[in-house]
């Protein structure tokens, strides 16, 4: 058919079209493909249930074939019905019509909301399309179209395939198809007309009926009734009296800790433009018969308000600008910046550190003079200390990226202890105005484990949020660099002055958190040890007079406090961080002993050692008695000693260490060396044990330390008494094994006087150095998990206000997905982008839900039940492409929709005339002017399906399904006919 005659150049160029060989080859390729896909033979199937075209899934398979050198793609589209797949093997009726022909008449899936156009036009559940493979190729001339169609016909005939086969002709955008379906003695031809302008006789049902009848050319009189289904679609674009409420925050306003109405530590949310652009109302008359309604060029019964079925879909704005998404996306972009902090802030960022440090220690030494006064207060003015000054120096006064006010606000938010009167660090974890954070131990709180981020009340998390906001509102990467620099200086200040870093769980670094968080915890561990040491020294010098024999600190560790110490040592204690080599675990007062037991002593050998043993008759560093065990030789109670705590480790240190250990290889020597390297802890414990238990032996130690290596057996001695005899296990008795060796080397030294196993000074410096070396991009990578974590919590919080089931489910998926991506080291950017895209889509969905709720006036609805229904209705838009309106035009939702259209119409009729004039030309407008013109505009689309079963071509032929679908819109008209005929008798 292809009635349109646009002057277009031919693209489908084949040198010799009629060459039998090319043509035959093409046909046999088509047959081959049909064979491969097992589409040969009888196609059977039950009539389809209501709506299955939407509820079940469509699949497709493709292959490529060519006609001479013109490439075609062949695609099989088919509905996969999971539910009925098993019982689809029902009896095959030999002479039954092909299932496609039955589908032509089925009324259960008219106007599917989402389907291939051929499905929409012909109601097919399965079909094959041959189309030019390249996007711009097209089959244009009529002779070539015919040639293709006859190839199809031959292939179907040869194979006995009953699946309809279509050929796409003309340019692709025109969606022109011709096709054929064959069955035993029957054939359906699929034909199509596509025009730019609708001829006036086809704008109404009666005209369409005429063309249908003439097309069928039915010999019967009277004609059996023709079944009619009609759908009119109306578009609403003008949402009257409704303005999208959200404005992008005003970034210049900074009022009382808020930026543009946004507090630090909070994330923004929502769309800046209406995420819903259009509403499409489809009014459907699903089942009419010719003669029941009148619809001709002068009058129409088709009043949308009276239509028995209404359904609605909404058109969503493509990528509406959403605040949270912008925030996260911009932060992610930071990860790709190359610049170092120095390059951004001007050289020098950390350069003058040395000088500043000197200043501080100078100030501190002054403070130490009136002895017992510690620095108990950090002030914010003190905090905004140095980075800014330096930046000023180097870049001119006004150029520092963050102004004082912003910086102060942030620092106060990050370090609330600076404002607390009682800020001695121990209470640093008190949460100040953390807002709506999930309570600890709740599922939400523990999300950080999945994201490998940090707890939502931690400093790390807060820092991430601040950086995110600064990046967005305050100078981008420069602001980020500036804040980071301030942050690092603050960390150093705290280390040097024994102030704990607030907002961190105490104890060893939590390996489930991000590395930056671990490093901060590590710094706190260092501060804790240094503080304990320094305070120990101080306390000792001050408490000396009181004669307090010992005291236990918070950690259950003992402070030893008896002795004579020169005053001079006190001042020096402040510098303890500077000399790491000779540092002791809890080096306290006993200078004499300290020296005696120091490293040089090891070299002096056994002679001194033995004298030491006798000296050390007085037990030291006991923690508690170990049950009622007694020492084997002396019979004294066996004491568990105070031991050095194991070195806290961050994951990178750990990796380093295990790498070193692994590198030693698997040889015997390697294993020996490995054990030796790790024996420091064992040795230290042995020394502590010896100090706490004078006169003990290895057996005693083993009974505490590795009890299963001391084997006790009941024996009967020579007098016949049962005695318990114990001995070391075989492996402990191996001569010169490392345990024995270590035992022999160990001297009785209590933990506090041993050399530190953990060099807090060195570790702290390493952490601070690491911090200083972080570029903004590094920082962004470290903290991205925290930002994603926060974004997910935000989305969750917003969802809970709306209660959208589908969003709940997606959020769960995002969390699982993230936990897979983020817990691996160095996740790929592509995967991170995926997570961000998921968060974006959820934000947009929630924004849409809000927009819809506002449009349908849910807030204004007072009636409880009606409100619930409306809510369900609105939420359905988020999950379904098309939502039925219960009660059509008369239901509560229908009434609201009606009003929306009326309001829009009222405004439209007040528009200047030119618009109106153009429209008034259409017959449609005229006809409806008697009806509800004031309420609805003219339909944007009219679809009509005509169906009947009649014998064709002769009165005595088999009665067969006939169908014609028509649609016209403003500038498009299409007729798609499927006309079946009996090929045996005519």
């Amino acid at each position: 058919m292809a009635a349109d005659s646009e002057p277009e150049s031919e693209v489908f160029e084949i040198t010799d079209f009629t060459t039998a060989s090319e043509w035959e080859r093409f046909i046999s390729r088509v047959e081959e493909v049909l064979n491969d896909w097992k589409l040969i033979g009888i196609s059977s199937g039950k009539p389809l249930g209501k709506g299955v075209y939407t509820t079940e899934t469509w699949e497709e398979k493709s292959d490529e074939i060519s006609f001479a050198d013109f490439r075609f793609s062949v695609t099989h589209h088919y509905l996969v019905q999971e539910s009925s797949e098993k019982d689809s093997k029902e009896e095959i009726v030999e002479d039954a019509l092909p299932v496609a022909m039955q589908d032509l008449l089925c009324m259960n899936n008219d106007f599917p909301p989402r389907a291939h156009c051929l499905v929409r036009w012909y109601g097919l559940r399965e079909f094959v399309v041959i189309a030019p493979a390249a996007n711009n190729d097209a089959v244009l001339s009529e002779s070539k179209c015919n040639l293709l169609l006859s190839s199809v016909s031959i292939a179907l005939g040869n194979t006995g395939c009953q699946v309809p086969l279509f050929v796409q002709i003309h340019h692709q955008w025109r969606k022109m198809y011709v096709g054929e379906c064959q069955g035993p003695g029957v054939r359906t031809d699929f034909e199509m007309v596509h025009l730019r302008k609708v001829p006036s006789q086809y704008t109404h049902v009666s005209g369409l009926l005429d063309i249908f009848k003439s097309k069928i050319g039915c010999p019967l009189t009277p004609l059996p009734p023709i079944n009619i289904s009609i759908r009119l679609t109306y578009v609403l674009q003008d949402w009257q009296q409704y303005f999208w409420p959200q404005q992008p925050p005003d970034i210049d306003a900074l009022v009382g800790g808020e930026v543009g109405g946004l507090e630090f530590g909070k994330l923004p949310f929502g769309a800046c433009e209406d995420p819903i652009s259009e509403l499409h109302l489809a009014t459907t008359w699903p089942h009419l018969t010719e003669g029941i309604i009148v619809d001709n060029d002068v009058y129409s019964d088709l009043d949308p308000l009276q239509a028995p079925q209404w359904s609605v879909r909404v058109r969503k704005a493509d990528n509406p600008q959403c605040l949270l998404s912008d925030f996260v996306t911009e932060f992610f972009k930071l990860c790709r910046r190359k610049e170092s902090t120095d390059e951004i802030l001007g050289k020098s960022a950390f350069e003058e550190e040395g000088k500043e440090v000197a200043d501080i220690s100078h100030a501190l030494s002054k403070l130490t003079e009136p002895a017992p006064v510690p620095i108990h207060k950090l002030s914010v003015t003190n905090m905004v200390h140095t980075a800014k000054k330096k930046i000023r120096k180097h870049r001119g006064v006004d150029e520092s990226p963050l102004n004082n006010e912003v910086l102060n606000t942030i620092l106060l938010y990050l370090f609330p202890d600076a404002a607390d009167k009682s800020a001695d660090g121990s209470e640093a974890r008190t949460s100040t105005s953390t807002g709506s954070l999930p309570p600890p131990d709740s599922e939400d709180y523990n999300i950080y484990i999945q994201f490998k981020s940090a707890p939502s009340d931690s400093l790390t998390y807060k820092l991430a949020l601040c950086l995110c906001m600064i990046n967005f509102y305050h100078g981008g990467v420069k602001g980020v660099a500036h804040l980071w620099q301030e942050f690092v200086l603050e960390m150093r200040y705290r280390w040097e002055n024994n102030f704990f870093v607030p907002g961190l769980a105490s104890g060893a670094p939590d390996l489930r958190c991000c590395l930056l968080h671990q490093k901060l915890q590590m710094l706190n561990c260092c501060i804790e040890r240094k503080k304990a040491r320094d305070e120990g020294k101080k306390a000792n010098s001050f408490d000396r007079s009181s004669g307090d024999p010992g005291k236990t600190d918070l950690l259950g560790r003992e402070f030893h406090k008896d002795s004579d110490k020169e005053k001079g040592e006190v001042g020096k204690s402040w510098d303890s961080w500077s000399d790491s080599e000779e540092e002791f675990f809890e080096c306290l007062s006993d200078t004499e002993e300290l020296k005696a037991n120091g490293q040089e002593n090891v070299k002096k050998g056994v002679a001194k050692e033995s004298s030491k043993e006798t000296l050390a008759l007085k037990p030291e560093g006991r923690l508690h008695q170990h049950g009622n065990l007694t020492l084997l030789h002396s019979g004294e109670p066996l004491y568990v000693p105070v031991t050095q705590e194991p070195a806290p480790m961050t994951e990178d240190l750990l990796e380093e260490q295990s790498e070193v250990l692994a590198k030693l290889g698997t040889s015997a020597e390697g294993a020996h060396l490995r054990a030796r390297m790790q024996s420091a802890c064992l040795l230290s414990d042995m020394e502590s044990f010896k100090a706490a238990n004078p006169g003990c032996c290895l057996e005693d130690f083993v009974r505490w330390y590795s009890p299963r290596d001391y084997i006790e057996e009941e024996m009967v001695d020579e007098k016949g008494n049962v005695v318990i005899k114990g001995e070391l296990s075989a492996r402990m008795k191996i001569p010169s094994n490392m345990w024995v060796e270590a035992w022999e080397t160990a001297k009785p030294i209590p933990a506090r006087r041993q050399r530190r196993l953990f060099d807090d000074t060195r570790e702290a410096e390493k952490v601070l150095h690491y911090f200083a070396g972080q570029k903004p991009a590094d920082l962004a990578r470290h903290l991205l998990p925290c930002v994603l974590h926060a974004a997910v919590l935000k989305v969750k919080e917003e969802e809970s206000l709306e209660d959208i089931t589908s969003v709940k489910r997606i959020i769960k998926q995002i969390i699982t997905h993230s936990s897979k991506v983020l817990r691996f080291p160095n996740p790929e950017d592509k995967k991170l982008e995926e997570i961000i895209a998921q968060i974006m889509s959820v934000e947009a969905t929630i924004a849409r839900a809000r927009s819809l709720k506002a449009k349908f006036g849910i807030e204004k609805c007072d009636e409880e039940e009606e409100r619930k229904d409306l809510e369900n209705f609105v939420n359905s838009f988020l999950e379904q492409p098309e939502v039925p309106v219960i009660g059509a035009g008369r239901g509560p939702a229908g009434t609201i929709i009606h009003k929306l259209f009326m309001n829009a119409q009222r405004v439209a009729t007040m528009l200047p005339f030119d618009e109106e004039l153009k429209r008034s030309g259409s017959s449609d407008e005229k006809r409806l002017s008697s009806g509800s013109v004031a309420d609805f505009p003219s339909p944007a689309g009219r679809e009509v399906i005509l169906r009947m079963t009649i014998p064709r071509p002769a009165p005595y032929s088999k009665p067969l399904p006939q169908r014609m679908y028509s649609v016209f819109t403003k500038d498009d008209f299409r007729l798609a006919g499927a006309f079946s005929s009996d090929t045996t008798f005519f």
């Binding site: 497709e60 909301p113 989402r114 291939h116 156009c117 051929l118 929409r120 036009w121 189309a131 969606k175 679609t233 578009v235 490998k452 390996l511 489930r512 194991p646 750990l654 295990s658 692994a662 030693l664 698997t666 294993a671 490995r674 054990a675 790790q678 024996s679 802890c681 064992l682 414990d685 330390y705 590795s706 299963r708 290596d709 296990s729 075989a730 492996r731 402990m732 191996i734 490392m738 345990w739 589908s806 489910r809 997606i810 998926q813 995002i814 699982t816 897979k820 817990r823 691996f824 790929e828 995967k831 995926e834 998921q838 889509s841 969905t845 492409p881 689309g941 679809e943 649609v967 819109t969």
Partner: protein, 206 residues
């Protein structure tokens, strides 16, 4: 190294000291039993390449000491492990009773929730058994672990234990790929998928 090595797996052996962890490992890697084996200090490390279902996997196996005191150190080694072998001594009930503690520790420190766990009851060659095979089975079932009884001395079950574990790890999606090939999450935004095709939701009509 070897081209055809599919992956390197990190495996951890834990359990009370003296239950035979190091002996099991030695039996597996060197196929010997050394009654003179020294008690482990800290952690030890061995490597072995094995082939399961035609897939070669390099195993980096960390052996731990097990003593209370060393335990503060070992949790760090749980990080990144794909498999863990938890050993008890069938002739020492106390080592069986301590299993709960080990599991708790594992759960606390392990960085991934899909780690594959295997329970091994060792020293079945010895006479004085205190823990019945059924008890081990029950425990393993309760905690979704693989289970086997073995003897490092007689070689019983040792090879099998490691192979089963590796096979299970390889079967667990996302556990061994250095980057998990997850398909991404399907969003409810159905329309996107259709847009690309010949005909989308709207296009047929409007």
């Amino acid at each position: 190294m070897d081209e055809d090595i599919l992956t390197t797996l990190k495996i951890l052996i834990i359990g009370e000291s003296g239950v035979g962890k190091s002996s099991l490992l030695l039996r597996f890697t060197d196929d010997t039993f050394d009654p003179e084996l020294a008690a482990t200090i800290g952690v030890d490390f061995k490597v072995k390449t094995i082939s399961v279902d035609g897939n070669k996997a390099k195993l980096a196996i960390w052996d731990t000491a097990g003593q209370e005191r060393f335990r503060t150190l070992t949790p760090s080694y749980y990080r990144g492990a794909q498999g863990v072998i938890l050993v008890y001594d069938v002739t020492r009930r106390d080592t069986f009773a301590k299993l709960d503690n080990w599991l708790t520790e594992l759960e606390t420190y392990c960085t991934r929730n899909d780690i594959v766990k295997m329970l091994v009851g060792n020293k079945i060659d010895k006479e004085n058994r205190e823990v019945d095979r059924n008890e081990g089975l029950k425990f393993a079932r309760k905690h979704s672990m693989l289970f086997i009884e073995a003897s490092a001395k007689t070689c019983d079950g040792v090879q099998c234990a490691f192979e089963e574990l590796v096979e299970k790890i390889i079967q667990t999606p996302g556990l061994w790929e250095s980057e998990s090939q997850n398909r991404g999450v399907k969003l409810s935004n159905h329309e996107e998928g259709y847009r690309g095709g010949a005909c989308g939701g709207y296009c047929s009509m409007l």
